[in-house]
């Protein structure tokens, strides 16, 4: 369950951390009911600012993937198979559409896009 943040990437650190945590949840390495290290110990182990980690955790909370309670460790609540609400599906579609449109506009074939899709999905089982 490695975390590897690259400060020279154009993606901000907090975003990288959030993305990698989300991916761990998707892969099933972080399961429903697992806890994350406290914000401060995560920051100390990584060697980054407390506020950066806190920002990532809050983003995950907003997305409904973790539960933050004062004086307790962050609890993973994502990763369950459940019926998504119509609005949530729409949200995913809205987020995905511009990325796919951009790829298509830059010349990616539909077949390539589908196989790319499958390849990514395979990582998460």
């Amino acid at each position: 369950m490695n975390i590897h943040l690259d400060p020279s990437s154009e993606l901000q650190l907090y975003k990288q951390l959030a993305n990698q945590l989300i991916e761990l949840i998707a892969k099933g390495e972080l399961k429903n009911g697992d806890t994350l290290p406290s914000v401060r110990s995560m920051a100390a182990d990584l060697g980054i600012n407390v506020s950066t980690v806190s920002k990532s955790y809050h983003e995950l909370e907003e997305k409904g993937l973790i539960e933050l309670k004062p004086k307790a460790k962050a609890l993973i609540i994502g990763g369950q198979k459940k019926e998504l609400q119509e609005t949530e599906v729409e949200k995913v579609e809205n987020a995905l559409k511009p990325i796919m449109a951009e790829a298509f506009a830059r010349g990616l074939e539909k077949d390539q896009m589908t196989s790319l899709f499958h390849r990514i999905l395979k990582q998460w089982k």
């Binding site: 369950m1 490695n2 590897h4 650190l13 401060r40 110990s41 182990d45 980054i48």
Partner: protein, 359 residues
């Protein structure tokens, strides 16, 4: 006197090999970016230090043996050995400080920072694999001491008005103390102070940060876990060792009213051997688990925390919630000065000493 020579040899060897006990990514308290770990100059610095400190220790040892051949008094011999030991400490400290400065300079001159790519790494499962002893193990000796104090007061009337508090090597009393409500529990109080600070330290050990390296992640995780596990075991061993020693001594003097304690000196020697033997074992475990960095393939390095260190000795980081941090030079832990608990620890450790001096 052979015992003193034994201790001297032990300390000398330990001082000599210290640079090789630290993590490869810190040399004389300076963080080394991972691609530079094999840098030739660093290996030379370590070698020179060991050769120098090793020869000083050998020379002093020779001096001690020569002294033994003369008809020197034991007290004088002990004093001289102690002076030798202090000089050795000072010289090796000065030497490592000078290498600390040299390496910093080298790092700047060759502009290492510009040639590497710093990344932040950790492993979320590392805390689950952590085997630092639980504070419960450090709470038990405190209970024993509190029981001992209670027991002493329950038997207060039976304690003689003057009781022995100092013995020579043969176990005959050569120092006495008058009985008061304070003086009968001085020894348990000193013990209690040390036990309480070890108890606080045990929490610090558990929460101390775990720094992994970017290119030898599994190896560095192994080393960190080994250092934490056996480090806490060692502190617990010292704690129990000391507790047994103090309890036996207190019980003999105050409760049994024994003026001679023939078994105490052998017990003390055994306890010294356990402490020093434990330290050797701990070091051996650590050196076996050290990272190797044999195959470095990128210019990545894990972020270093040098800016929170002063001279590679004092650590102060407000961002770090933990009380303790792994030492940058040598092995073991040091306190995080930005954590207010660290002052409480220092106070608890030094309070008995201050009390003894000023009261």
């Amino acid at each position: 006197m052979l015992f003193i020579i034994g201790i001297f040899i032990f300390v000398g060897v330990l001082e000599t090999v210290t640079p090789y006990l630290s993590r490869k990514t810190t040399v004389f308290g300076v963080s080394i970016p991972e691609p530079y770990v094999q840098h030739q100059q660093l290996q030379l610095f370590k070698k020179h230090y060991s050769m120098f400190v090793g020869s000083i220790a050998a020379a002093f040892l020779l001096g001690q043996i020569l002294l033994l051949l003369t008809s020197i008094q034991e007290e004088k011999f002990v004093l001289l050995s102690f002076i030798f030991l202090c000089v050795m400490f000072l010289l090796s400290a000065a030497l490592s400080m000078s290498y600390h400065i040299k390496i910093k300079k080298l790092k700047k001159q060759e502009n290492w920072e510009a040639h590497v790519k710093t990344v932040y790494v950790t492993d979320l499962s590392i805390r689950d694999r952590d085997e630092v002893l639980s504070p419960v193990f450090f709470a038990l000796p405190i209970i024993i001491t509190l029981a001992l104090i209670t027991f002493t007061y329950m038997n207060y009337n039976a304690i003689p008005d003057v009781f022995a508090t100092h013995w020579n090597a043969a176990g005959e009393a050569d120092g006495w103390t008058e009985k008061t409500w304070i003086s009968v529990i001085v020894m348990p109080l000193i013990l209690l102070g040390t036990q309480i600070s070890l108890f606080i330290i045990s929490f610090g050990m558990k929460s101390a940060k775990i720094q992994l390296s970017a290119q030898a992640k599994e190896a560095s995780a192994n080393r960190e876990l080994t250092q934490r596990k056996y480090g806490s075991w060692y502190l617990a061993a010292i704690n129990y060792n000391m507790t047994i020693l103090f309890v036996v001594l207190h019980y003999t003097t105050v409760i049994l009213k024994d003026q001679t304690a023939p078994y105490f000196f052998p017990l003390f020697i055994v306890s010294m051997i356990v402490s020093l033997g434990g330290l050797i074992l701990f070091n051996w475990k650590l050196s076996k688990s050290n990272e190797r960095f044999d195959d470095l393939h990128t210019n990545e390095t894990a972020s270093a925390d040098d800016r929170y260190w002063k001279w590679g000795i004092f650590y102060s980081n407000k961002n770090d919630p933990s009380l303790l941090v792994e030492k940058k030079y040598g092995i073991g832990w040091t306190v995080n000065m930005a954590n207010k608990w660290s002052y409480i620890i220092l106070l608890v450790i030094f309070l008995p000493i201050l009390l003894v001096i000023f009261i």
